[in-house]
């Protein structure tokens, strides 16, 4: 049984919540001051995910980069795999905001889209 401490980020109090889990089920949660913390800790303990934001190289653009994000939170343990795949990409200007840059990045079933428009130089 794995025991870990998770700082709740639902509100500014930041409860230090102790969670015991076997990786599939949660067996104990302690230290939360409210119910909202339970849901956060549950997903954080079993399947932590983050929206990943970074940038991609642009050819012939007014800026050398375009900022991008994953359309959904990706599993935390895949963040550096996703970053590695994004690093090899180069797009040509013009880029429109919301344009799909990578489909199904690192086999997550999640896309990477631009968060900015970049005009041609």
């Amino acid at each position: 049984m794995d025991k870990k401490q998770i700082t709740c980020i639902v509100c500014p109090i930041g409860c230090k919540i102790i969670v015991k889990t076997d990786g599939e089920k949660i067996n104990l949660i302690d230290g939360n001051k409210c119910k909202r913390g339970l849901d956060y800790v549950r997903s954080e303990a079993l399947d932590p995910r983050r929206v990943l934001t970074t940038s991609v190289l642009v050819k012939n653009g007014e800026w050398p980069l375009v900022s991008v994000k994953t359309t959904k939170p990706v599993p935390k343990k895949k963040i550096f795999v996703v970053l590695e795949e994004i690093k090899d990409i180069k797009v040509s200007a013009p880029v429109k905001i919301g344009q799909r840059i990578i489909k199904n990045v690192a086999e997550t079933n999640i896309d990477v889209v631009s968060t900015k428009s970049v005009k041609r130089k």
Binding site: I9, P12, L65, S67, K69, K76, L83, I97, T115, K116
Partner: protein, 415 residues
Amino acid sequence: MIEKEVDVAVIGGGPAGLSAAISAKNNGGKKILVLDRNSWLGGILPQCIHDGFGVEETGSSMTGPEYAEMYIYTAEKKDIDFMRETMVLELKRNREIIAVNKDGLYKIKAKSIVLAMGCREKTRWNIMIPGDRPSGIFTAGVAQAFINLYNIIPGKNVVVLGSGDVGLIMARRLKFEGANVLGVVEILPYASGLPRNVVQCLDDYDIPLYLNHTVTYIEGRDRLESVTIAQVDKNFEIITDTKKRLECDTLLLSLGLVPENELSKNAKIKIDNITGGPIVDQNYETSLPGVFVCGNCLQVYDTVDVLSIGAKHAGECAVESIKTKKIKESVIKVKPGRGLHYVVPQRINESGEVKFTMRVKKPKESIIIKINAGNKEVYSKKLRYVNPANMIEIDFDISDDLIKSKEDLEVTVDG
């Protein structure tokens, strides 16, 4: 000199300026002009590529560039005039603006003005870190622009001093770009940034946070070679035998932000020494009639959402002041009392609902915020938790009686 006349001139095209300009237009302002020194609009937002913007305002989490484009799109549809790559040199007390760009020198006469110049980062010299003066020392925001706008990585082995949000976000950003982040050093016993950022930027990547620590010395001949960090005691005195040398090539400073008010000060607008922004009334009007202020040059906000809402109010009031031309006298002063660092607005001259924004001095649990008029308590609210990093907002209805009484208001925090 090129002469221009407008209804409302907005100085600064960042989120505050855009929100104020759109609001001025929506409230019946005709000729609205926004001046900005950059070639782009949105101010700092295009380099803030992380997400979390707009949650309070729109319910969905956006990145900085997305939030900016939302406002720019609206502003451009609204027939608002923009002068980019234009530097405002002087704000005159008769509401004339002297500005310059590649076409020449401008004199812009405005019926009302909204100041939205934003803020600047504190540097090494604000806290006087001793040592050498090598290259490799950057403010966190400058490093953010290098990485996210210009594709330049400032260094490989990085120490961050100060745990403000930009510093935390940059620690993660550098990690993403393959740099080694040795730690974030914070002199206070708690992080200055939001808890969310401590978790998602430091804890997620095992970046150490050195609380009660500071940088005591900088070494390096041409490029930064090392910084010395040490623990501090309760009075922020360095505990000498805790000194530790960290070899690094880059030091990022996230020491806090200072409202940018050179123009306001030169126009002799009264400044609040604690917020660093102009003293304002409930309409965000400064001590110079017809000149309003919003955004981070009024007070440094935690989130752009709350900032935009405040700027909207300033834009509306700027247009309203042209229509009504009321001369107001400052009637009531609002002062921070026990436990409170500051409160905005600092003056009230009309009855009606006022949104007060304030910061406490220290983190505390189970507190009561009170507004006192003389010896009488006129408002109280319980809060479970307060933190200097989280601005507190209170809506309070100022009654006619309160205005008539001419009693100053004091806001206190107990518990």
